[in-house]
């Protein structure tokens, strides 16, 4: 296994945040250094990722809703994007396995079909969430999450510290606290500081993997190869190798999120047990997706207040997250530096922007069950830190890069993993689904 970064344990990273001395300096790049690992042609748009052993599990916030069944058939149902070659029912048992591995907390009833109970009990609603739950039933649920509700296997219970990118009590699932057994298998050799930048292709197969470690050019071979970088770097590796699939590197995208700050009259937003207590699906699925984007609501519980006498916590903030469509204006290409891909972003599509406008029209009615004084909409966040697309999944090579088993349509000993394979982008967080796709691919391929 070739790992670009290094292992810097959770306990040491927490020491850094406390301003304490660490056992050794952090060997991985910080945020600003990470931003220099790409040539960003549109620097006003940032692409957020972390480098280091454990990857995005180190910095994710642990939100794990499943996709909705209709997310996989956007073309058939709504006439936009393309249908996925894998469907919800195919993934259902693999979702369950991932939820077991990550000890997901979640409710008994969900808007998506689910054959098994979540391993952990749900997190607690706030008083505001309870009113919305009463109004909307299973369209308003305790968020399924990898932030543990109860302590498990060395992980603490989430206590709403609300700094989830590095949990102070190690409550969220990470590779380090939940999957180290894979690396402890004596058959696995792990090389740190090894950046893969290209492949040697011959006769529709990968023969060698090229990487640099300690400034030295090296290559390895294997019967089967799996790329597990993020969608920007997976695309760069393929393009450096000479992959000529017309979709490779194309359709880069993200969801779009903005905060709606809802000022309440004599109702406190208190009592939740985690950072995002709830997900709302009231603006998610339906025929409106023929015209504009689905929206997933997140009820936020970090310690914000109104600086107003007697009204301190009479406020709730919802993060409204919108899907977008893969766009040909957003893409990855190689640069003059083989290690640093060049990234172009064409901005959110009209489909997503129309979804935002629709939300602003409908949210007051949706929140009619609350004593709302006013709603203030913030500008969209620069990033949702969910990089998607570039190696999209399709039934055949005419419409995408990998097949339903994440195997490259042309190079049949090559898996290209991760959210780059998403055929379309939903408003749901990607990690649970990309994990289920990997388990499905492995189960069906070996």
């Amino acid at each position: 296994m070739l790992e670009r970064g290094h292992h810097f344990p959770h306990a040491e990273r927490v020491k850094e945040r406390r301003g304490e001395q660490t056992v050794y300096p952090n060997p991985n790049p910080d945020y600003n250094q990470t931003q220099q690992t790409i040539l960003n042609a549109t620097p006003e748009k940032r692409w957020i990722y972390t480098l280091g052993f454990g990857g995005s599990s180190n910095c994710w916030f642990g939100c794990t809703p499943r996709f909705m069944p209709n997310d996989f058939k956007m073309k058939t149902l709504y006439g936009v994007g393309e249908d996925w070659p894998v469907q919800y029912d195919d993934l259902e048992p693999y979702y369950t396995v991932v939820e077991e591995i990550m000890s997901i907390s979640g409710p008994a009833e969900t808007p998506f079909p689910k054959k098994s109970a979540y391993p952990q009990p749900p997190h607690l609603f706030t008083d505001v969430d309870q009113r919305l739950k009463k109004a909307y039933g299973n369209l308003y649920i305790n968020q399924p999450t990898a932030r543990a509700r109860v302590a498990t296997n060395g992980r603490g219970a989430c206590c709403a510290s609300a700094v989830c990118s590095l949990c102070p009590v190690n409550a969220k699932f990470t590779i380090e606290n939940g999957s180290m057994s894979v690396y402890e298998d004596p058959r696995v050799e792990l090389l740190y500081g090894a950046q893969v930048y290209s492949l040697e292709l011959a006769n529709d197969a990968v023969r060698h993997v090229h990487f640099v470690q300690d400034g030295r050019e090296q290559k390895v071979t294997g019967e089967v190869i799996a790329l597990g970088a993020n969608p920007i770097f997976n695309a760069n590796i393929l393009l450096n190798a000479g992959d000529r699939n017309v979709f490779t590197g194309k359709g880069l995208g993200e969801q779009i999120g903005l905060d709606a700050r809802v000022f309440l009259k004599d109702l406190q937003h208190v009592g939740g047990s985690t950072w995002v207590n709830a997900n709302g699906y009231m603006l998610y699925d339906g025929d409106h997706r023929k015209e504009y984007a689905a929206c997933l609501m997140e009820s936020s519980n970090h310690p914000y207040v109104r600086v107003e006498k007697g009204k301190w916590r009479d406020i709730v903030t919802f993060r409204m997250v919108f899907e977008d469509l893969p766009s040909q204006d957003s893409y990855v290409v190689p640069s003059g530096d083989r290690m640093r891909p060049k990234v172009h972003y064409g901005g959110p599509t009209a489909y997503a922007l129309k979804g935002i406008e629709n939300m602003k029209q409908k949210l007051p009615d949706i929140l009619a069950c609350l004593p709302v004084e006013k709603i203030i909409y913030e500008e969209p966040h620069n990033s949702e830190a969910h990089i998607l697309g570039t190696t999209r999944m399709s039934a055949d090579a005419a419409k995408g890069v990998v097949d339903r088993h994440l195997i490259h349509h042309q190079y049949r000993n090559l898996f290209v993993l991760g959210s780059g394979a998403f055929t379309t982008f939903t408003p749901s967080n990607p990690t649970l689904t990309l994990s289920a796709l990997s388990l499905y691919a492995a189960d069906k391929s070996f």
Binding site: V14, A160, S161, A162, P168, H269, G271, P303, Y304, V307
Partner: protein, 131 residues
């Protein structure tokens, strides 16, 4: 009216010597003006603003001094709003269930890594009602 930043404040008072107040005086003044109906301990406010500046960018004190010159309020300036909010989180105000009659005691800069589980609005402080 909202103030987008210190630059706005400087434009608003071109003829004034904006260095008249120190950072500490300015930050204290903004907090005490905003919370004039509460009972903050002044020594605690001073300790907070000094520790708070260490966690901010180098130009933060200049922005605060500029905002103080125009007596910016939390509703006009996000910077003031955030500073006042962070001050309150660093006191026992929320742990005392927002009792506006009790003196505010500074507990130390709010830092979830030094004091995890201190979100004052969580279920730990507002447990579910048992009916």
């Amino acid at each position: 009216m909202t103030l987008a930043g210190a630059g706005t404040a400087l434009l608003a008072i071109p003829g004034m010597a904006f260095m008249a107040a120190s950072y500490t005086e300015a930050a204290k003044g903004l907090i005490l003006n905003e919370l004039d109906y509460l009972k903050p301990e002044k020594a605690g406010v001073e300790q907070f603003v000094q520790e708070y500046a260490l966690s901010m960018t180098p130009n933060f004190p200049i922005k605060i001094r500029s905002l103080y010159m125009v007596r910016a309020s939390a509703s006009q300036s996000k910077l003031v709003n955030d500073m006042v909010q962070d001050y309150l989180l660093s006191t026992d105000f929320f742990r005392n269930r927002m009792d506006e009659q009790k003196p505010l005691k500074y507990l130390g800069l709010y830092n979830p890594y030094k004091t995890p589980c201190a979100n004052p609005f969580s279920n730990l402080y507002y447990p579910p009602q048992v009916s």
